[in-house]
Amino acid sequence: MIMRHEDIAIKIQPEELVGKVSGLQGDGCRLVQIACSKTKENNFELVYSFEKDYKFCNLTFEVPPDAEVESISSMCFSAFLYENEIHDLFGLKIKHIAVDFQGTLYETAVKYPMSVETK
């Protein structure tokens, strides 16, 4: 099955995230996953995947490494684990997580092992 991320991605602005997610929630979409990755410009690219009736939709946006992203865990409770994971592995700050482990979800030997600095 061909499912290129490019085909299902919707580019948004970081500020739009909360509004878009609550809209998708209202439509009965289910949070599938949140992924973070580095870009060539040493920014972080976030991918929020949603699904409804086997139709996928990926909200994506880029943020600089020192930015703060608003948590969506107030709407999708299940997002709290993904957001803690992103914080612990990438060092990206996420505000207002429902259950904030304060960086203790993964206690890795190298702090923020997948962050842009430790390349």
């Binding site: 099955m1 290129r4 991320h5 992924a35 990755s37 580095k38 995947s49 990926n58 684990l81 890795t108």
Partner: protein, 359 residues
């Protein structure tokens, strides 16, 4: 007026198969709150993409989990094939389907055994694993490994199964089906088992949806969603319906998995009947570019792969969201207000695989 006790549950606890830690706040024997803690077996496999060639990532993906190993390899291969992009021969798709369903039957039997152990039924546990062993023997006979199949690669599969052997698998499954029925009937009908499963850890359809439950955990609550319907591999040629139960308790989740065992056996029969001849792999050339998103149904639920490539032989990002990761928030919901004696049963009912979760 009862006193509150905090029971540390895990990371090393005899009933938990893997290291998850739960702080259970108890009032007498009633759980008021459960606070999870993971991160005991984090292996940094996602970081490994920087060192491994993309073709080797299939081996890494396969070792994310010892039970759903084959489906991890299959999903990883699918994603890389998507990035390259290449067409996989039909026969390889069918073989992948057969192995994936074999993996599902052995995973579910393993889970049924662990579940029996969680509610203190040792004999049932042993008998489930006795049957699972026969499936593992078949896997070893066809793929070469017992739990790490090692038979999937980018562009197809690594070994072929001869037609005679395929027929033999169906014959063996026919015999096994009767034995599995004998054991699973105990789960469905026995009084003491039902006493431990019915109305335990109830999760409503709405909660299952909002909390993002996946796989049998979700289907036990009445959401009819099975990623195999997407039609990857050879599923587009096979007839099946997602298995759904509506009660949302541990009994419903057990019944979903039991019915899925028989569904998988049926899918194997269909696949063996339809499998075409031809090559089993195509040559892989070039380096992947772009990004791919794959969602594949594992025994525990759907696994989501998000792969990003940059035209070199190493992938840029290798993101795996395993089913247990998505099932932890529903688990916390189910644990609130349950009896201490039901905690292992509820934890087991999501089929936790913590090593998968932490990759």
């Amino acid at each position: 007026m009862s006193k509150r006790t905090i029971i540390p549950f895990g990371p090393q606890h005899p009933v938990l198969p893997e290291p998850i830690h739960l702080d259970l706040v108890l009032e007498d024997e009633k759980v008021v709150q459960a606070i999870p803690r993971i991160g005991y077996v984090h292996r940094g496999l996602e970081k490994l993409v920087e060192k491994q060639e993309y073709a080797n990532m299939v081996y890494v993906a396969e070792r994310i989990c010892g039970i759903c190993s084959f489906i991890h390899a299959q999903t990883c291969s699918q994603a890389i094939e998507d990035l390259l992009p290449i067409e996989v021969p039909e026969r390889a798709l069918y073989l992948r389907t057969i192995w994936a369903e074999m993996s599902r039957t052995h995973s579910h039997l393993l889970w049924l055994g662990l579940m029996a152990d969680a509610f203190g039924f040792e004999a049932l546990f042993m008998h489930c694993w006795r049957l699972r062993e026969k499936i593992l023997d078949m896997v070893e006979d066809t793929a070469g490994g017992r739990v790490i199949f090692g038979s999937c690669k980018v562009g197809g599969v690594r070994v072929d199964i001869e037609d005679a052997k395929l027929k033999d698998i169906v014959i063996q499954y026919n015999d096994l089906e009767k034995e599995i029925k004998e054991i699973t009937d105990v789960f469905v009908e026995d009084y003491s088992v039902k006493h431990r499963l019915v109305d335990v850890g109830v999760m409503s359809k709405e909660d299952a949806h909002v909390l993002g439950a996946v796989g049998p955990t979700m289907r036990g609550s009445g959401v009819a969603k099975d990623m195999r319907t997407l039609g990857y591999a050879a599923y587009k040629y096979l007839k099946f319906e997602p298995v759904v139960e509506t009660a949302g308790d541990c009994y419903a989740r057990t019944k979903v998995r039991i019915r899925e065992v028989f569904q998988s056996i049926d899918l194997i029969r269909q696949a063996v009947a339809q499998i075409p001849g031809g090559p089993i792999a195509v040559k892989v050339t070039g380096n992947p570019t772009g990004s791919s998103f794959q969602c594949v149904e594992q025994a525990r639920g759907d696994v989501a792969y998000y792969l990003k490539a940059n035209g070199t032989k190493n992938l840029e990002r290798f993101r795996v969201r395993t089913p247990t990761f998505a099932n932890i928030p529903p688990l916390l919901k189910m644990l609130g207000g349950c009896e201490l004696a039901d905690v292992p049963v509820i934890v087991l009912s999501i089929d936790p695989c913590i090593s998968c979760t932490e990759r």
